[in-house]
Symmetry: C2
Subunit: 241 residues, 2 copies
């Protein structure tokens, strides 16, 4: 049975990987509680971070509760939500393709995290700055253009036109691409400006997502956290260039 | 419509991420062609690596062709194959849970790759050896035990008993866990021996998967490639300990 209201469990002070889920819930106009941002529920959130005591423990946030279901892994959560909220065309081929794109986008997101933490997530960034410099240089000059060039090609080849990644309507993957663009512009403004010279369809799609009424209202609200240097996309000027 | 025969596009000299798909196809007894290992089709394989010219280009192998469908991202391929070949219980909750576990396992696999390539996939391992030493030390002492402890906990908590990750029958996630264990034993024999002291259910499940008739036949065949230092799981003695 469908839940009338979702519960999202994610870190309360960063956008992080939870933001891809938040954007989908906002675009859907779905009722949800961002549990960790409710003061008296912080302990409950920390229990979930530790995996809870259920038969199907999550490894890490984000976690979505939908009725009796407890679902983790952001791409898995999105694949669950999308058909329920018309955030993807509901045929198997479209769902597989959207999920494939989302997983590819998630791979890039992982690589973004590695730029500031190339040695260990358990160390502070300051303890791995030399390695971060070296890794970021490769990320900026090789990986960013390779991945974004790929998504630009997907838009170019879409037989339904270059306005969306999947079919001819907005899907959750478009929302995630918007978030990726916003994050890369924040973390690597110089490098991203260069890459975007060659990805006009991505830039246009990101602007269109930002103008969608529910997304625009969300971005203007205090539910949208600011980017910061505890999150996934961090602006360390020495890592850009 | 179901394809009568699948085509798998993956690098022909390594197990890599393609092996998770190969194991599922073998357990299913599915007819498939490992395209890159057919000499006269190597060019066709390289075209696929480059993304092909279709409307839905893959970013990278593995890629599975099933009739008209062209599917990439190993976890996505497995989620597609599993319900068709009874490699997962066919209810939504089981499918979501299996996929969640597979994505978590894939995160660990990504971290394994980072141990020998912490700076850039485009550089040789020799060009990032110092960073690899440092990253591997954290991987061995923190990440391996954390992830494998998690999967052990999943087995312990399974209300249907600790013999399988999902429900009471073998699923594709069990096959992937077997491959993970085999790879970690190859790459980090010393560290893995220590971790396995605390994960008896994982060790037992890995042995049981290896004894399944179709898997045993596959492992004994020349279709199973050997681990080597071009793949995902590499044995560099200085990175173990």
């Amino acid at each position: 049975m469908m839940a009338n209201s979702y519960e999202l469990y994610y870190w309360p002070t960063i956008q992080g990987r939870g933001e891809f889920v938040r954007l989908a819930l906002e675009e859907a106009g779905a009722a949800y509680v961002d549990v960790a941002r409710v003061a008296e529920r912080h302990r409950e959130f920390m229990d979930m971070v530790a995996g809870g005591d259920g038969a199907r423990p999550p490894f890490a946030p984000p976690v979505l509760k939908a009725g009796d279901l407890v679902i983790a892994q952001s791409a898995n959560i999105l694949a669950f939500l999308a058909p329920r909220h018309l955030l993807v065309q509901d045929d198997e081929e479209s769902r597989l393709w959207a999920h494939q794109l989302q997983l590819t986008l998630a791979d890039l997101v992982d690589e973004v995290h590695e730029t500031h933490h190339p040695i260990a997530a358990s160390l502070y960034h300051d303890e791995q700055k030399q390695e971060a410099l070296r890794r970021s240089a490769h990320f900026r000059t090789e990986r960013m253009a390779k991945y974004l060039g790929y998504f630009e090609r997907v838009l170019t080849r879409n037989p339904r036109g270059g306005g969306h990644l999947v079919g001819d309507a907005v899907s959750y993957v478009d929302l995630s691409l918007f978030q990726l663009v916003a994050g890369l512009r924040y973390a690597f403004p110089k490098a991203m400006a260069r890459v975007e010279e060659d990805t006009p369809l991505i830039s246009r799609l990101a602007e269109e997502v930002a103008r969608r009424p529910r997304i625009a209202a969300y971005l203007a609200s205090d539910r949208r956290l600011a980017f910061n240097e505890n999150g996934l996309f961090r602006h360390y000027p020495e890592l850009d260039g």
